[in-house]
Symmetry: C2
Subunit: 206 residues, 2 copies
């Protein structure tokens, strides 16, 4: 029998439990005991691996960047030859993964930063890095698409950030209305915006 469970140590179990629990309850409302119970470890193990609850928050945001980074690197939208198609394909991919429980498709960084942007600089910065780092991967494709079409009037970076703004806002509306539907609608509007930008050949100059 070669079937073996992956040897997860308490640290990894806690970080992955944090993904679920914090996205459901928020960071403040999640107690260390909650996390230990969800991960199936004791409080002693928690404080062996993390000096404080805040330190776990930072580690969770960093681990989030790592995990989501891997997910998007292997996504199929990179195959498009045209850069604009890759950008639009990215949004389509984001739409496709909006399934199941709301907490499971929302963003840990966006959720945490709302609660901690004043109280914890460390968590805020880790969340900011997660979001801007993710946007940076889109930026190259956007820049190429803009160059191909001679688009000016805004920066590739600002448009990359705008996609993240729409996603984060879409998650809030999904939470408020208890459904992914408004998020999907909003991503359709984002797609329409990208198509309008990239299909017109630099009419802005007039």
């Amino acid at each position: 029998m070669n079937i073996e469970l992956p040897k997860q140590n308490a640290r990894t179990k806690l970080l992955e439990a944090a993904f679920s629990v914090i996205r459901e309850q928020g960071f403040s409302a999640t107690s260390v005991d909650d996390l230990c119970a969800a991960a199936g470890v004791t409080k002693g193990a928690f404080f062996h691996h993390f000096a404080t609850k805040e330190a776990l928050g930072v580690a969770a945001a960093d681990y989030w960047s790592l995990v989501t980074g891997g997910l998007f690197e292997t996504a199929p939208y990179h195959r498009h030859a045209d850069a604009a198609q890759r950008v639009i394909g990215y949004v389509a991919f984001r739409k496709a993964i909006l399934q199941g429980e709301i907490a499971q498709f929302t963003c840990l960084a966006g959720t945490m930063v709302q609660e901690t942007y004043v109280s914890s600089v460390a968590i805020r910065d880790a969340c900011a890095n997660s979001i801007t780092g993710h946007a940076a991967k889109l930026e190259a494709d956007i820049e190429e698409a803009m160059r191909n079409r001679n688009l000016t009037g805004f920066t590739a970076r600002s448009l990359a950030m705008h996609t993240q703004v729409v996603l984060q806002g879409a998650f809030i509306l999904a939470k408020a209305l208890g459904s992914a539907a408004p998020a999907l609608d909003s991503l359709d509007h984002l797609t329409r915006y990208l198509e309008l930008l990239f299909n017109q050949e630099s009419e802005e100059k007039a």
Copy 2:
């Protein structure tokens, strides 16, 4: 001397304190004592007016709808004769009020619903009503602008909601990056989208 402070009772003081404190710390991280201290009232006064902390959350969201409703009703963008100009003017107005401390220009409903959408249906619904109620006021103008231009392919409601999505997302980015700048950039993209939609005469049909 007719200069008199408005006779604010403990209830109103608590609700207005909640606007500031909850937008800074979040709902969970804000204790009843925090709110009492900020409002300058005692705990007895708090529980005289609100049965639970959750009840204050609901009341705060409702009061938020009331206060912001008044603010936007008297805003100057309603004067435009063209409906599309009113919609674009709305976004410009939202840009204009993104000043000062971040907590002071963000949305209470969006902040609270993130933390409570699982734990408190009452707060979630109050926040959802605040956001959708605000969007509904835009919907009539959007519908008129769409009718004037024979625009199809999406609903006025979904576009109204999209403006709220962008705003909510913009607040998250502002919090993450500690600056209103990315929010302003994103509202520029939203404006550009609206201009592209409303200035083209129904080219979508082809």
